[in-house]
């Protein structure tokens, strides 16, 4: 699948899961790189991924790590250790 199709597919999974995606949100495109679809699938459960772009100038690797831990520990995101590490790696590398 090309980038857009895969991205759309990731959002379609969210829609099938009964989650409301905001109008226009599909226009947000994260950097195409390994684990991008994992990041989109996990983070988009609760929020649009423009949060990633918005905080890119603010957060370094330690900041992304802290942010992902906050989502898991305080906001109850059901993300295991392995996926959390992959998400942090993607964010720290590309944002």
């Amino acid at each position: 699948m090309n980038t857009h199709v895969r991205y759309t597919a990731a959002l379609a999974v969210l829609l099938l899961a009964g989650l409301a995606v905001a109008a226009g949100e599909e226009s947000v495109q994260l950097q195409d790189a390994p684990d991008r679809d994992l990041v989109v699938a996990r983070c988009s459960v609760c929020h649009s991924v423009d949060y990633v772009q918005m905080n890119a100038p603010v957060l370094d690797r330690a900041g992304w790590q802290k942010s992902v831990r906050k989502m898991i520990d305080q906001f109850g995101a059901p993300i295991g250790e392995a996926d959390a590490n992959r998400i942090v790696e993607y964010l720290a590398t590309h944002y």
């Binding site: 989650l19 409301a20 995606v21 905001a22 109008a23 226009g24 949100e25 226009s27 947000v28 459960v45 609760c46 929020h47 649009s48 423009d50 949060y51 918005m54 905080n55 100038p57 603010v58 957060l59 900041g63 942010s67 305080q74 906001f75 109850g76 995101a77 059901p78």
Partner: protein, 396 residues
Amino acid sequence: MVTRRRVVAGSIGGLLLSNLAGSWAFGAAEAAEEPLLALPGKRALIKRTFRPPNYETPLADLRSQITANDSFFVRYHLASIPEIDARTWRLRIGGASAKRTLELSLDELKRDFERVRFAAINQCSGNRRGLFAPRAGGVQWTYGAMGNALWGGIRLRDVLNRVGVKGDALEVVFDGGDGAALPGTPDFVKSLPVDRALDAHTLIAFEMNGEPLPHWNGAPARLVVAGWTATYWVKHLTSINVEPKAFDGFWMKTAYRIPTGVFPGARFASQENAQTTPITEILVNSLVTSHVDGARLERGRPAELAGWAWDGGSGISTVETSLDEGRSWRAATLGAASSSYAWRGFRMPLDTAKPGPLRIAVRATGRNGARQPEKLTPNPSGYHHNMIQTLALEVA
């Protein structure tokens, strides 16, 4: 998508005033393009995030005395936002320190209590967070996570007195209809000290600028806590509970906190610890709306600097401008204040006779003596940005 180039007031470095006397830094930097997008029922606003929706009012829409409902900023923490039917909506008032429990419809709230209306600033705690240095994580607001509106409703204290407040009451706890996607995410619930809840300027509001509250601003009823930052102005109110103990939810105990003893403003004693305390009152501040940093003025053509000044309710006593990097200050002309919680206009003619740079600093002082600072007080969440605004204009 509509986009526009926007000149942020100085690079982050340029915004910082140096510690060295007389060496203020001015300078303009081009910021990234920001999308202007319209939510249903709103004009195009600066989109910060799609979901939960966070939209900022553009400077152009902050030039009127009253900020229009359709351009008023939108701020949510959680993405599930109910479309509430005002006819079936009920507000439950009770709690362990209430003598009885009531459930009231919107019609009963409107009919059974005295109606009040006044203008007040509604300002996000993190307004201007995007201008902080060092930078702070969170929604990267610039100037428009605020507005001045005419709030209509009833006094919270009249409703609390109807249920009866017991002598052991410590806090009043507010919940709204918005919720999270996941069950493990803390619901957005806020509390106030009981004395602030009983203040005459704390309202259950159902009107904004003479219209029913817009959906994105809390329909059918929201809390108005005049003088306090917008985190307390709970939208889509569903329950109000008077309690004998400090509320320990995430949005009180962990979020919206500042270092203890560092900032001025009312204390929230029941929520305070040695390290941190809840943000409370809006600090004295001002905003130039007539010009943006880097603007060019035509030589010889009359020009006037204008904007707004406000604080947490003491009212504005003076607004001053400096053209010599803070060595001397001259009082601007103040407009009328419709309420001490509203913003107050200021005006200052600009001398455009000579070509060259025109470096302007603006500072406001409240009737309580508090004045805008030359430097920011760093804090992890980027709250209380009220540093003196500087603009570098050019006469040509």
